[in-house]
């Protein structure tokens, strides 16, 4: 379901010509509201691909599972490194797990 926007953290990507979440969404769903904060224009149409989440420099976006499908509240947060990605997953019981691995370069 559409990314939840933390309106405190989102700065509308001031320095960019076009905000990064808007640039990247494969479905053309993310855009800026009049107040220069991001929002998803068609919540029903999000694919949950998490591309916008990965692109956001402020960590202002979060994918949420709709309540009809899952319970409140689980989190999955990607952190993009140079050649690595680190995911933090917190389930509804508060169990935290971390996954870190190389996403670019040759593996032995």
């Amino acid at each position: 379901m559409p990314p939840k926007v933390d309106r405190e953290k989102c700065d509308g990507c001031k320095a960019e010509k076009e905000s990064l979440c808007e640039q990247i969404c494969p479905g053309d769903l993310m855009t800026l509201a009049e107040d220069k904060k991001a929002y998803c224009r068609m919540p029903r149409d999000c694919w949950d691909c998490m591309s916008c989440i990965k692109a956001c420099p402020k960590g202002a976006l979060e994918t949420r599972i709709p309540y009809q499908l899952g319970y409140h509240v689980a989190k999955l947060i990607p952190m993009m490194g140079t050649n690595t990605i680190t995911w933090t997953c917190i389930d509804i019981n508060g169990k935290v797990e971390r996954f870190q691995y190389i996403n670019r370069g040759m593996l032995d």
Binding site: E18, C49, S51, L69, L107
Partner: protein
């Protein structure tokens, strides 16, 4: 971004771009096509027209955890054996063995290119790519799409992001480019090219997804919901021959959240079970290969369990240790990360409880099954100057990441040869003006127009297809009368596209998406009607013709007459090149 609604066509700027090679859709196949064309001839002008942003577009936007096909020659595997397997996966075909073989021959070197470009591929102790099934190799492919995109740009392809193709540009019977509009700048684009490759992926969203009902999560689909079949639609409208559209791809997926099952069952050895704890494939489908049965059986079997009162169905993950379960979820993070979040939102420990599975909505995807353009060995369609690759090209199933990449390259080789022998005819401005008018019509009508919004029409079409043309809610079953009903209403919907209105450019895109889907749906229903037999239960189940008809051991083809709109349907013979039992891998 609030755009100004133009009051007349004159307010809309037209950009004309002349080029040598136009690639419509900078996805997996499209990026490889650009790479190949530029490598073969660096002086060529290569232009990519991309609906989204090339860095994260199409099927591979979220990443990948595997390349489903690689030929481990050290294990005695060969291109011929891969084709044999592919043929068996679609129940013995028919498939285009000529195309499949040429793809297989270039497969390994293409996958190795990806590694060279920076894709981490997992190795075994001997330094070979690590197998997770017979053909599929594991990758840490979170960055797969950015890697392919960077390569296409590095070799010098000119990329137009956020430009949506709406129709081919024709010179008589020959394709000389494509037209479309900019989703950001609102301009009308004309790409005038000596050769064109169409690689817009498959068609998702023709049918209603099973999750739509109960969540408003309209795009809980497996295939990329932003690939709507435009590549097929522009060919259908341009009188190109389409093949095997009735061979729909439908997969068994995790229930309530469309997540992968192959990763769990093939790579981690978790078997399909039912409510009674029976191993469904082993108990009831041993004669067709059990757990290694063709793909449509692995869909149809669990759905039949539901129908016959033995649902729910599962993949039994309780055999996994906690380390294996973590490895599995790491793989899932590379391909469908939000599924890991879904499991967390259920507090689901997969080592204690199995994962529930259910069928997906049907897709038309020529990278998985045989649907798409009929092409020759150079990947040229029946329209001169128009080439097809990836999910858009038909006859050659089970391509996936590696095969779509190869086909991108092969189509580029074909196109480069073609370009050398041709010149660019003058631009037909009348055709351009006509398309511009068609494209912007819903926009010019504006938000106050008393008409139909694209979403209403999309939902109407999806429910129609679901109920009458074999969707998930009918357990994929259909009969002649229902298909006739579907066709009649598709015709009405097509006629009603004249009432579509758009309130902004995004909804203008939606208006064209539903129109394109309708054109694909119409051809699809004609194909489903023509195959009066049941060859691939689940993918194509005719309740009124439940048996295989030996006379239908052939390709079903169609061409739409652009003047009358009539769809001509006919057969092409199947040619077996690789001997042996066609249903055996």
């Amino acid at each position: 971004m609030a755009e100004k609604i133009p009051k007349s066509l004159n307010e809309i700027q037209t950009e004309v771009i002349a080029t040598d090679l136009l690639i419509i859709g900078g996805g997996n196949a499209g990026c490889f096509a650009a790479y190949e064309a530029k490598t073969k001839n660096p002086s060529l002008r290569v232009t990519i027209m991309e609906k989204a942003h090339i860095s994260r577009s199409g099927a591979t936007a979220a990443g990948m955890d595997a390349i489903n096909t690689f030929i481990r020659t050290d294990k005695g595997e060969t291109p011929e054996k891969l084709v044999k397997w592919s043929r068996a996966q679609v129940g013995g075909g028919p498939i285009r063995e000529d195309l499949a073989l040429s793809n297989a021959e270039l497969l390994n070197e293409t996958v190795e290119l990806l590694e060279e470009w920076g894709l981490p591929i997992v190795k075994d102790e001997d330094g070979h790519y690590k197998l997770r099934g017979r053909w599929d190799i594991s990758i840490q492919g979170e960055q797969l799409k950015p890697i392919m995109a960077e390569k296409a740009m590095e070799v010098g392809a000119q990329v137009f992001n956020r430009v949506v193709a709406t129709n081919l540009l024709m010179d008589g019977d020959r394709c000389v480019g494509a037209m479309g509009f900019g989703v950001r700048d609102g301009k009308f684009y004309v790409f005038h090219s000596k050769a064109t490759i169409v690689s817009t992926g498959g068609a998702c969203g023709i049918y209603k997804s099973p999750v739509t009902d109960y969540s408003g999560a309209h795009h809980q689909t497996w295939m990329c919901p932003f690939n709507v079949g435009t590549g097929y639609a522009i060919g259908i409208r341009g009188a190109a021959e389409m093949t095997s559209m009735e061979q729909r791809w439908i997969a068994i997926r995790t229930k309530d959240f469309c997540g992968p099952v192959d990763t769990i069952s093939v790579a981690f050895g978790c078997m399909i079970t039912n409510a009674k704890g029976e191993r469904v494939m082993e108990v009831r489908y041993k004669d067709v290969g059990g757990d290694k049965a063709a793909r449509f059986y692995r869909l149809n079997a669990p759905m039949t369990e539901w129908l016959e009162g033995r649902g729910p169905t599962y993949v039994d993950t309780t055999i996994l240790s906690s380390e294996e379960a973590k490895d599995l979820r790491e793989d899932l993070l590379n391909e469908r990360p939000s599924f890991v979040l879904f499991l967390a939102s259920r507090g689901h420990d997969i080592t204690k409880e199995p994962v529930e599975i259910y069928g997906s909505d049907p897709y038309i995807v020529g990278g998985h099954t045989g649907s798409g353009y009929w092409v020759d060995m150079k990947r040229m369609t029946t329209v001169p100057g128009l080439f097809a690759a990836g999910e858009t090209a038909g006859g050659n199933p089970n391509k996936f990441v590696g095969g779509c990449a190869v086909e991108g390259r092969l189509s580029a080789r074909g196109a480069v040869d073609y370009i050398e022998k041709t010149t660019l005819p003058p631009l037909d401005t009348k055709q351009v003006e006509k398309e511009k008018e068609r494209v912007f019509a819903p926009f010019i009508r504006g938000p106050e127009f008393d008409g139909v919004n694209p979403m209403e029409m999309e939902e109407r079409m999806q429910r129609l297809m679901d109920e009458y043309a074999g969707g998930i809610h009918q357990f994929y079953r259909m009969n002649e009368e229902r298909l006739d009903h579907a066709l009649k209403n598709i015709k009405m919907l097509q006629d009603q596209t004249k009432y579509l209105y758009a309130k902004d450019i995004h909804s203008l895109m939606s208006a064209h998406e539903v129109s394109d889907r309708l054109d694909v749906a119409e051809v699809l229903v004609h194909h489903l009607k023509y195959r009066k037999e049941t060859r691939w239960p689940g993918w194509q189940t005719r309740m009124d013709y439940p048996e295989v008809d030996p006379d239908m051991d052939c390709f079903v083809e169609s061409v739409r007459d652009p003047k009358t709109g009539e769809i001509k349907i006919f057969k092409r013979p199947f040619k077996q090149l690789i001997p042996g039992d066609r249903t055996k891998a």
